[in-house]
């Protein structure tokens, strides 16, 4: 069996990998070429690509995916504490935990579709969030979050005499540039899998499920296992992303499970374009990029930025802008959310397509009249 069914896909993936690995170069002019931020691009890219398999392809809108992300983080940190500071077992464990957790939640949530499903997943996430602060304290360490400690057993590390205090891949620290390349590699792998899935009969069945679930069952498909598999896969992606968060910064807190975090991945996916392969990643990069810029602003920095203006005008601008930056980043996020859903439900990919076709139409305006003969009937 060959790995690639079409040369086009191979080329597509090669370009994708090249662009990802070259991130430090082309992100530099945007002031985003440093490892910490690029790691977040890759991590949330994985999260959004996985979410898209469920929402974009299968049509199930989950509002609780942050719970799987959070669970993945806890799993990875526990792997660091108990087994080894090597990220590989941590990520395997995180993916597994994400998948198992999703399977459990899916047993109940997937009995219903549509809004019932959204509400059930939201309820599960909120339940996990409040349990993380109470009865699950021994696992989550509640408010203080789960952290590494020098007294951790790290059985495997002790066994092989590996040392270090932070996650590392055979001595390569996962904090800086190595961490980015590690995350980038995972991102490319995840993208590749989602592409394969999309091109497979299974992926086509998922899209058909989204399109018309009732007809799917009259066509002889048992729709439940399809939805369940998509849910588990996207839960595994989320767990993996949560694990990656812990790899680059070995800390896990329950705030990662909050509904705002679940909402954020929905926004990433629709901003880029739900159902497209590349869209969710683009959405993740854009949101994390602007989050980084916006939340760094505080009134002092704003005054500095507008210092070239006369004082009155400067005050005016600072007053206008300050609710949207720093602490107010979520307000900007909410407004973006609404604007995208209202005006561009297909996301950036759709917008790009529209612009491209508009350009094509202008070029081919001579043939425009002819092509209008084939008007859709409805």
């Amino acid at each position: 069996m060959t790995l690639f069914k079409s040369r086009k896909d191979l080329l597509y993936l090669a370009i994708f990998a090249l662009v990802i690995f070259a991130m430090p170069l082309w992100l530099k002019p945007f002031g985003a070429g440093y490892p910490d931020l690029m790691q977040r691009f890759a991590i949330f890219g994985v999260f959004a690509i996985g979410f898209n398999i469920l929402f974009g392809m299968t049509g199930y809108l989950s509002f609780g995916h942050a719970a799987f992300l959070g669970a993945g983080s806890y799993a990875a940190v526990w792997s660091f504490k108990l087994l080894s500071l090597n990220p590989v077992p941590a990520l395997l464990f995180a993916t597994l935990v994400g998948g198992v957790f999703a399977a459990l939640v899916g047993v109940v949530s997937l009995r219903r579709s549509g809004i019932y499903f959204s509400i059930l997943t939201l309820a599960f996430a909120q339940m996990s969030y409040s349990l993380a602060y109470s009865v699950l304290m021994p696992i989550t360490h509640g408010d203080s979050g789960l952290q590494l400690a020098s007294s951790d057993p790290r059985v495997l590390d002790r066994l092989f005499g590996a040392d270090g205090t932070l996650p590392n891949l055979f001595g390569f620290s996962m904090h800086g540039m190595y961490g980015f390349y590690f995350c980038a590699l995972i991102l490319i792998g995840c993208f590749y899998f989602s592409m394969r899935l999309d091109r497979s009969p299974f992926g086509m069945a998922l899209r058909a499920l989204k399109s018309n679930q009732t007809r799917m069952s009259y066509t002889g498909f048992n729709t439940k296992p399809y939805a369940r598999t998509a849910f588990i896969i996207s839960g595994m992606y989320a767990g993996l992303a949560g694990g990656m968060l812990a790899v680059t910064d070995p800390l896990a807190g329950a705030e990662r499970m909050q509904w705002t975090a679940s909402g954020e991945v929905v926004l990433m996916t629709i901003l880029g374009g739900a159902g497209t392969l590349l869209g969710p990643l683009i959405g993740a990069v854009i949101i994390k990029y602007f989050e980084n810029i916006f939340s760094a602003f505080h009134p002092g920095r704003l005054y500095e930025t507008f210092s070239f203006l006369p004082e009155g005008v400067q005050n005016f601008f600072v007053t206008i802008i300050s609710p949207f930056v720093g602490e107010g980043w979520h307000l900007t996020l909410g407004i973006m959310f609404m604007l995208i859903v209202i005006f561009l439900p297909g996301g950036i990919m759709e917008g790009g397509k529209r612009i491209a076709s508009a350009l094509r139409n202008r070029r081919a305006s001579g043939r425009h009249l002819q092509s209008r003969q084939f008007e859709p009937a409805e």
Binding site: S118, M127, S130, W259, V266, M338
Partner: protein, 341 residues
């Protein structure tokens, strides 16, 4: 016996809030066919109406009384709410009864917000998918709560019930139940108001022609449209009613909970659970499930229960919802075909 009555009353209190929010949610579901994730934010805004009104009437003037001295030997600063200076005893009344009076502020504010929301946003989403409705109202919920956060900060703001109601009523004496059951006056008033509001809404739907059309719309939207009734206008009214009910519930609940910006989302998730348990689009279902779940939660939070099942109080509602959905897919009183698929 006493603890039983107390837990029961506590449950009814919580249930009253659930029922009022769920009532609006299910009304909007049933008639407009829209899933409004911003409904909790309306409850929160209602609660902040109470905050705003209390603050307004308590705006103080500072006068210096040269006759009297403070403990530090400086002339004493006397702070008097401005409304008392202007209006005398009536001003004092305003300050005292700021919370119930803020309903008068909340009703027009909620009507306005409801009207703007329905006309400006929700209306354009009737024909979009449920997912898009959820997403856009979810975005709106974030925006509303962040605006409140920007104005009022992240901390909870205590609001005080009128002093006259700050004491407790000895229920054993008045009603002859239990041996010594004391319950705060305000909570009783809140509970009575919740029941009154629910009664008013149901009476409106049941006994007025306007309400009947709305109910018919819940049964079969298309047919009502065919009858040539201006359903659009009624949708706005329904949305306005739902907003006012949520807002007034927020006002009344403010002294009990101390409003903060995430109050809306906290209650929204639980109210959705209530609606799902009661059955989508069923008003009696929402009310019944609201009180039922409030009581269940109240009993689950008793120390004797949490000792055996830790944190059960935090998950009991979800557990109930899951059980109900697994056994009765349409909830306790749901109808077939509402919001499915």
């Amino acid at each position: 016996m006493d603890w039983l009555i107390l837990q029961f009353l506590n449950g009814l209190d919580k249930g009253g809030a659930y029922a009022l929010i769920a009532l609006g949610l299910t009304l909007v579901f049933g008639t407009l066919g829209v899933v409004n994730f911003a409904h909790g934010a309306l409850f929160m805004i209602g609660a902040f109406c109470a905050v705003v009104f209390s603050r307004l009437v308590r705006l103080e003037t500072v006068t210096v009384d040269p006759e009297r001295l403070s403990p530090w030997g400086t002339p004493l600063e006397v702070r008097t709410p401005m409304v008392e200076v202007w209006l005398g005893d009536f001003g004092t009344f305003l300050v005292q009864y700021s919370v119930p009076l803020s309903i008068l502020l909340a009703i027009p504010v909620m009507l306005l917000i409801g009207w703007v929301m329905e006309r400006g946003l929700i209306r354009h989403f009737y024909k979009r998918t449920h997912a898009e409705q959820i997403l856009v109202t979810f975005g709106l919920a974030i925006v509303l709560q962040e605006i409140i956060k920007a104005f009022f900060g992240a901390n909870a703001i205590p609001v005080y019930a009128p002093e006259a109601f700050s004491s407790s009523l000895n229920l054993s004496e008045t009603l002859g139940i239990g041996t010594s059951v004391f319950y705060p006056w305000w909570r009783l008033i809140y509970l009575a108001s919740a029941l009154l509001i629910i009664g008013l809404v149901i009476a409106f739907l049941q006994f007025t022609t306007y309400g009947m059309v709305i109910r018919a719309g819940m049964e079969d939207r298309q047919t009502v449209g065919f009858l040539g009734i201006n359903i659009q206008k009624r949708f706005t009214v329904v949305f306005g009613i739902a907003a006012v009910v949520a807002g007034v519930a927020g006002v009344l609940y403010a002294p009990i909970v101390s409003p903060n910006y995430h109050l809306g989302m906290d209650f929204l998730v639980l109210s959705f659970v209530v609606v799902v348990v009661g059955g989508m689009g069923s008003i009696p279902g929402a009310v019944f499930a609201g009180f039922l779940l409030g009581i269940v939660e109240s009993f689950a939070s008793m120390a004797a229960v949490t000792r055996v099942l830790p944190a059960i109080d935090q998950v009991i509602l979800y557990v109930v919802a899951i059980i109900v959905l697994l056994t009765l897919p349409r909830g306790l009183m749901g109808r077939k075909g509402v919001m499915e698929g």
